[in-house]
C-alpha cells in the first residue's frame, strides 16, 4: 500500500483519486485535500529537514502556519520557492518538494557534526571568539558561518509569476474562520454590513474541521461549517477569502491580507496572479485567530515523530493520517487526551498517556480506562531515543520534592505532546494593543483595544466550543453596530461537547538527566535550548529583548509563536522575577512570512514607475535615437547616424546647430500658467527677479531660491498679458516648483488674487535653434511677424502653427537664434514631424540633451542640479544680476543675508580651460590650488560640467571654485590618479561672449 499511515476512512480528503508528488526526488502519493505534510505523514515520512545550527534531524511538529521544522523548497516550472511550510503547502499533482539545510542528503548531513561540537556553541558563542587573527573574520570565519546558516536555497531564476493588488473597504473584517470567526462573520453580515472573512487555510472552519467529538445544533461541526459558509457565500455584502492571511495590522484600521490565488493548483492559468495583496480599510476588525498549542520543553523534544497533540488529532480527523502506530501522548492539559482517544478509536496503539499532573480529571481517566489506555499521572518525559525518528521515550516520576525519579522507558514511534494553549495575539499586538496576563489560563490575552478591533474566541483566551461561538456572535454584532449603527437578531447555534479543558505548563520541565549534556529545545528552528536562555541570563541579559537577541529565541520564522511563552518562563525562573516583569517581545508584521512579489505587485518593468514620453518619442525611436531618464521622462539623448559613437554624434549635432539649425524636444520642461490680477506680484515674491515692469509679450529668465537662499530652479517666464504668465521650470523640478508655489500661495499669501495651473502636459514644445531657425519655422507660422524687430530675443507671441494655435517664444538655450513653439499636445507629433522634415531641407538635425548640454555650456548657461547642488547662491553662480535690487521681499532674500552666505571664500562658478586643450576633465573631479595636494587636503572646488566644444575646437569646463571669481586668469589643478591637470580659471561664457548670434 502506497500510503501506509492513511486511515481506512474519514477525513476531508478526496479518496477517489491519487495525486503523485515527489519529496527529495522520491515519488509518493496523496489525495486532494492533503497538505504536503499530511501526505508525507501518510507515507510514513517524518524526517523532513535539518535544524538551523546543529543540523539535527527534524520532523513535522504542527499542522499549521507556525510550523518551525517542516520547511521545504518547492519547484514549479523553473520557479523555486524556499522555506515553504509543508503544513501549508496544499498537495497538487506533480508537486516537487525538497528538504533543506542538509548536505549531501537529508539522511546523511555532514553539518550534523555541529551537534557533536555543540558544547562549543552555546548562545552567543560567536561574540566571544573568531577574533584572531583579525583578518580571518571576513575571509575565513564569516564565510563558514554564512554557508552553515540560512535555511533553503535562494531562487536562482527571475520569477515568472505576476502578483495582483486590490484596495478594499468594508465595515467588518473577520480574520479567522474557526467557530468564533464564522459566528462573528454571520452575525455581522446579517445586519447588512459589508463583511470580509478571511482565513489562512484552504477551507473555512478552523478547528471545527478536525472536531468530531462535539456537535453544533446536533450536527457534525464540519456540516455546520458548510451550512454557514453557504449562507455567507449567498450574501452580496460578504466577501469570502480562503487561503488569505491577514498578515499586517497597520494604523487607522488598515489591514493587509495575502491571498494565495494559484499556489494550490497543479497547472494554473498564467493570466491569474500567483498571489494578491488586499489592502483593506475596515471600519471594525474581529480577530478570531484562535490559539496554538505549546510544545513541552523536555530533553530531546525535537526528534522526528514528536508532534503537538492537536496536530496529531488534526492529521487523523481532517486528513485521515495516523502519525504512528505506537503513540505516546505526553501532556499537561486535558485537550491532548482527546487526541489519544481519537487515535485509539482508529486502531492506533496509544502506549500511554503521560500527564504531568498528579490528578488529571477523573472523567478523562475513565474514558482512557474504557479504551484500555495506560495512564501515567504525575509523569514527565525526560528524554527520547532514536535519531531520525523517535523510537522510545524516557519517563520520569514527579516527586513531591520537585525532583524527578526515573520512570522507565517506553517504546513508541510517535509522541504527541501538549503544554497547553497560547492565544494568537499577533494581530492584536500589531494593532499596538498591549496584552495582559491572565493567571487563570496562564496566558497573555488581548487587553484594551487601541484601534477599532476586538478579539474573539480562543484568540481572546476563551476556550470551549460554546464559549467561542457566543463570543464570536457578540463580536460580530458589536463590530457591525460600531461600524454601521445597524443590528440584527439571528439564531445562535447551540453546541454539545467541545468543553474547554484545564491544565497547561510553561517553561522547561524537570528531569533526572545530566543537565549539561542534554538539549531541551525552546525554539526549534533556531536551535535554542533551555540552557541557552539560562546562560543569557547568567551573562547579564535581563530584558526579554536581550535574551531574545542573544539566544535568537523567538526570532525564527514563526516569530516565537511556539517558543515565546516557554522562553519567558525559563527566563523568569533564572531571573527570579515574576514572568510578567520580564517583559514581552512585540509581534511584527507579517504574521507569517509573506512573498516579496506580493508587496512589489504590478511595479515591475515599465510599470515600475510611469514612463513619461513626449510626442516625438516614436519618431526618435524610429530614427535610432537614444534616450536618457530624467525624472520619469524619457528624453532624447543623442541621435547617432551611420555608426557614430556618442562623441561623434554629439559633435555633429552641436556643429549643425551652430552652423545651420537643430530641432530639440523641450516638452518635458515644466510649465505653469500663473493667472489672475496679482500674477506679477506673486512672481515678484517667488522669483529673485523683478516682474512688474516686464511688458506683455516679453520674457525674462527667472531664478528661484529656497528661503535658505540657495538656488533651486530656473526657467524662462513669458508675460502673455497683464494678468497671465507662462512659467517654465526644469524638467526634474517641475513638481516641486509647483508644490512650493502652492505652499506660499495658500499658506503665506492667501490674499493674492492669483492661481497657478500646471500646463506641462498641455503643450508639446519644439525648440528650433540655429542661424536658420527663422527660415525653418517661417513657412508654418501664421499671424505674426517673425522679424527681429517685431519678435526680438526674449519675447513671446500667440500665433498659429499650420492652423493650430500656438505660443511662440523667441528664446535660446544655445546662444543661437532660437524659437520654442508650444502647441496643444495632441498636435505635437504633427508639429515635430513637420519641423523635422523642414530642417532636413536646411541641412539641420534633431539634437538631444547631450548636445543641448554642450551648447549651453559653451554659453555658460547653468544646469540646476549639475552646476548647482543646493549649496549655491545667485552670487556664487555669478548671477547677482538676476536679483531685483529694490524688491521688498522674495523667497530667499533674507536667507541670503545670513553670515555664511555673505562670507568671503565662498565657492563660485567659473570656467576652466585645461592648459592642454585636448584633455577633457572628468565631471566631479576636484579642483585644488596645490599641484600635488597631500591626501586629506580640502579641495577648493569641483568640476560641474565638462565637454569637448566643437565650436571652440577644444575642451571646456565649468567648476565651482573657492573664491573663483577673483581667480580669473590664475592656474589651478585638477588632481587625478594619473597626475595633476593644470587648468586656467576663466569666465563662464566661452562662445560668442557679446551675444551677437542671439540678436539676429
Amino acid at each position: 500500500m502506497s500510503q501506509p499511515f492513511r486511515t481506512e476512512k474519514g477525513g476531508r480528503i478526496d479518496r477517489t483519486g491519487e495525486l503523485t508528488f515527489t519529496f527529495d526526488g522520491e515519488e509518493m502519493h496523496g489525495h486532494a485535500g492533503d497538505t504536503l505534510a499530511s501526505a508525507l505523514l501518510a507515507n510514513g515520512v517524518h524526517l523532513v529537514g535539518r535544524s538551523f545550527k546543529y543540523h539535527r534531524p527534524r520532523g513535522i511538529l504542527s499542522a499549521g502556519s507556525e510550523e518551525p521544522n517542516a520547511l521545504v523548497g518547492v519547484y514549479r516550472k523553473g520557479d523555486q520557492t524556499p522555506n515553504l511550510r509543508a503544513t501549508q503547502v496544499e498537495l497538487y499533482h506533480g508537486l516537487q518538494a525538497v528538504s533543506q539545510n542538509r548536505f549531501p542528503s537529508l539522511g546523511f548531513d555532514v553539518g550534523a557534526v555541529n551537534d557533536l561540537l555543540s558544547p562549543l556553541f552555546p548562545a552567543g558563542f560567536y561574540y566571544k571568539t573568531f577574533m584572531w587573527p583579525k583578518s580571518f573574520w571576513d575571509r575565513v570565519y564569516e564565510p563558514i558561518i554564512r554557508a552553515a546558516a540560512g535555511l533553503g536555497k535562494p531562487p536562482k531564476n527571475p520569477d515568472h509569476d505576476t502578483y495582483g493588488n486590490l484596495y478594499a473597504h468594508c465595515d467588518v473584517l473577520v480574520a479567522g474562520s474557526g467557530p468564533s470567526g464564522l459566528a462573528a462573520a454571520l452575525a455581522a453580515a446579517e445586519t447588512g454590513a459589508r463583511v470580509i472573512l478571511c482565513d489562512e487555510q484552504a477551507e473555512f472552519g478552523g478547528s471545527l474541521l478536525s472536531e468530531n467529538s462535539a456537535t453544533i445544533d446536533g450536527k457534525d461541526p464540519a456540516i455546520w461549517v458548510a451550512e454557514i459558509v453557504a449562507r455567507l457565500a449567498a450574501m452580496d455584502n460578504v466577501t469570502l477569502l480562503p487561503r488569505t492571511t491577514a498578515f499586517g495590522y497597520f494604523a487607522h484600521n488598515f489591514i493587509a491580507l495575502a491571498e494565495r490565488v494559484t499556489e494550490h493548483l497543479s497547472d494554473p492559468d498564467p493570466r491569474l496572479p500567483r498571489e494578491r495583496l488586499w489592502q483593506v480599510r475596515a471600519k471594525e476588525v474581529v480577530i478570531a485567530a484562535g490559539a496554538i498549542e505549546r510544545p513541552m520543553v523536555f530533553p530531546e523534544n525535537d526528534r522526528p515523530g514528536i508532534l503537538l497533540a492537536d496536530a496529531g488529532r488534526t492529521y487523523l480527523n481532517r486528513y485521515g493520517v495516523k502519525v504512528g502506530h505506537k503513540v505516546l501522548v505526553a501532556t499537561a492539559c486535558d485537550t491532548a487526551w482527546q487526541a489519544a482517544f481519537d487515535l485509539a478509536d482508529h486502531g492506533v496503539e496509544v502506549v500511554a498517556i503521560a500527564d504531568l499532573r498528579e490528578s488529571p480529571p477523573e472523567s478523562l481517566v475513565s474514558i482512557a480506562a474504557a479504551r484500555g489506555i495506560r495512564v501515567e499521572a504525575g509523569c514527565v518525559v525526560t528524554g527520547t531515543l532514536g535519531r531520525k525518528r523517535v523510537r522510545a521515550a524516557l519517563l520520569g516520576r514527579m516527586m513531591t520534592s520537585g525532583q524527578v525519579a526515573a520512570g522507565g522507558q517506553i517504546e513508541c514511534d510517535a509522541l504527541l505532546m501538549s503544554g497547553g494553549w497560547t492565544p494568537t495575539v499577533s494581530l492584536f499586538s500589531q494593532s499596538r494593543g498591549k496584552v495582559v496576563w491572565e493567571a487563570e489560563t496562564g496566558a497573555f490575552v488581548p487587553g484594551k483595544s487601541v484601534q477599532k478591533e476586538r478579539s474573539a474566541g480562543a484568540a481572546n483566551g476563551l476556550y470551549g466550543l460554546q464559549a467561542s461561538l457566543t463570543d464570536g456572535y457578540a463580536a460580530g454584532e458589536g463590530a457591525a453596530r460600531a461600524a454601521t449603527g445597524k443590528s440584527a437578531t439571528i439564531n445562535h447555534s447551540r453546541t454539545s461537547g467541545g468543553e474547554a479543558g484545564t491544565g497547561g505548563t510553561l517553561g522547561a520541565l524537570p528531569h533526572d538527566r545530566n543537565a549539561s549534556r542534554v538539549k531541551a529545545f525552546v525554539d526549534y528552528q533556531n536551535d535554542v535550548t533551555a540552557k541557552d536562555v539560562k546562560l543569557a541570563v547568567r551573562e547579564g541579559m535581563q530584558s526579554i529583548e536581550h535574551i531574545k537577541r542573544y539566544t535568537t529565541t523567538g526570532m525564527a520564522t514563526d516569530q516565537g509563536r511556539l517558543s515565546n511563552m516557554n522562553a519567558l518562563q525559563i527566563a523568569s525562573g533564572a531571573l527570579e522575577k515574576p514572568l510578567t516583569d520580564v517583559g514581552l517581545t512585540t509581534f511584527r508584521q507579517p504574521f507569517t512570512p509573506t512573498t516579496f512579489g506580493l508587496f512589489a505587485g504590478v511595479s515591475r518593468g515599465d510599470f515600475f514607475d510611469p514612463v513619461r514620453k513626449t510626442p516625438s518619442h516614436d519618431w526618435v525611436v524610429e530614427k535610432g535615437g537614444l534616450f536618457e531618464d530624467v525624472g520619469q521622462w524619457k528624453r532624447a539623448w543623442y541621435f547617432p547616424k551611420n555608426g557614430e559613437d556618442m562623441h561623434a554624434a554629439v559633435e555633429r549635432e552641436c556643429r549643425t546647430v551652430r552652423e545651420s539649425v537643430g530641432l530639440f524636444d523641450a516638452s518635458t520642461l515644466g510649465k505653469i500658467e500663473v493667472a489672475g490680477p496679482d500674477a506679477a506680484e506673486f512672481l515678484e515674491r517667488m522669483y529673485t527677479n523683478p516682474w512688474k515692469k516686464l511688458a506683455p509679450g516679453r520674457c525674462r529668465y527667472g531664478l528661484l531660491l529656497n528661503d535658505a537662499g540657495f538656488i533651486t530652479d530656473d526657467g524662462v517666464i513669458g508675460r502673455l498679458a497683464d494678468d497671465r504668465f507662462h512659467v517654465t521650470t526644469t524638467t526634474g523640478g517641475a513638481p516641486s516648483v509647483f508644490a512650493t508655489m502652492e505652499d506660499y500661495l495658500q499658506t503665506e499669501w492667501p490674499e493674492l488674487d492669483v492661481w497657478i495651473t500646471s500646463t506641462t502636459d498641455q503643450y508639446a514644445v519644439a525648440a528650433i535653434q540655429g542661424p536658420k531657425a527663422r527660415e525653418v519655422i517661417a513657412p508654418f507660422i501664421e499671424g505674426i511677424d517673425l522679424s527681429a524687430e517685431a519678435l526680438p530675443h526674449m519675447s513671446v507671441k500667440e500665433a498659429m502653427f499650420r492652423g493650430i494655435p500656438c505660443r511662440l517664444f523667441r528664446i535660446s538655450f544655445t546662444g543661437e537664434l532660437g524659437f520654442e513653439i508650444n502647441v496643444p499636445r495632441r498636435h505635437g507629433k504633427m508639429m515635430w514631424e513637420t519641423l523635422a522634415g523642414e530642417i532636413e531641407k536646411h541641412g539641420g538635425t534633431a539634437y538631444g540633451t547631450e548636445a543641448m548640454h554642450v551648447l549651453r555650456a559653451e554659453k555658460g548657461y547653468i544646469i540646476i542640479g549639475q552646476d548647482t547642488d543646493g549649496t549655491v547662491t545667485p552670487q556664487d553662480a555669478g548671477m547677482s544680476w538676476a536679483i531685483g535690487k529694490n524688491k521688498f521681499d522674495f523667497v530667499g532674500k533674507r536667507g541670503l543675508e545670513r553670515p555664511d552666505l555673505k562670507a568671503e571664500n565662498r565657492k563660485q562658478l567659473v570656467g576652466l580651460l585645461t592648459k592642454d586643450p585636448k584633455i577633457k576633465l572628468e565631471e566631479g573631479a576636484q579642483v585644488t590650488t596645490l599641484e600635488n595636494p597631500a591626501t586629506g587636503t580640502p579641495a577648493d572646488g569641483h568640476v560641474t560640467s565638462s565637454y569637448y566644444s566643437p565650436a571652440l575646437g577644444r575642451t571646456i569646463a565649468l567648476a565651482i571654485v573657492r573664491n573663483g571669481h577673483a581667480l580669473e586668469g590664475k592656474t589651478l589643478y585638477v588632481p587625478m590618479p594619473e597626475g595633476s591637470i593644470p587648468v586656467e580659471v576663466t569666465g563662464t561664457v566661452f562662445y560668442d561672449k557679446e551675444g551677437a548670434r542671439l540678436n539676429v
Binding site: Y167, V450, E742, D743, T747, P750, R894
Partner: protein
C-alpha cells in the same frame, strides 16, 4: 498608511493622496529686513518635534490640492482635529485632555 480627513473634500482618504507639510503655525517673518538671523533659523529649521499632541500641515495633493492643518498624537498617530488653513491654532492642551492623553 494613515486615513486622513480632508476638510475641503469632506471625506476620509488614504494617506498616499496627501503630503505632510511639517509643523503648522510657523509664520514666515513678514518683513525680511527686520528679521534677525535667529528669527530666520527659527522659521527655517527649528521645530518642536513634539512627542504627543501636535499641529501639522497637510496638503491634499492628489485630491483638491488644498493645504489644511491637523492635530495628531505623534505617539499613536491618531488624528484629533482637522481644520482649514487660516483658522487659529487650537488649544492643544485642551484637545489632549479631552482625548485623555
Amino acid at each position: 498608511m494613515l486615513l486622513i480627513y480632508c476638510p475641503y473634500c469632506q471625506i476620509e482618504r488614504a494617506e498616499i493622496e496627501f503630503r505632510c507639510g511639517g509643523e503648522a503655525h510657523i509664520a514666515r517673518p513678514s518683513d525680511p529686513e527686520k528679521a534677525t538671523d535667529d528669527d530666520w533659523v527659527e522659521f527655517l529649521y527649528m521645530r518642536s518635534n513634539t512627542k504627543g499632541i501636535a499641529a501639522e500641515r497637510w496638503r491634499h495633493i492628489h485630491g483638491c490640492g488644498r493645504f489644511f492643518n491637523a492635530v495628531r498624537d505623534t505617539v499613536s498617530d491618531e488624528f484629533l482635529k482637522v481644520y482649514k488653513t487660516g483658522e487659529a491654532k487650537p488649544d492643544l492642551e485642551a484637545i489632549a485632555r479631552e482625548a485623555g492623553k
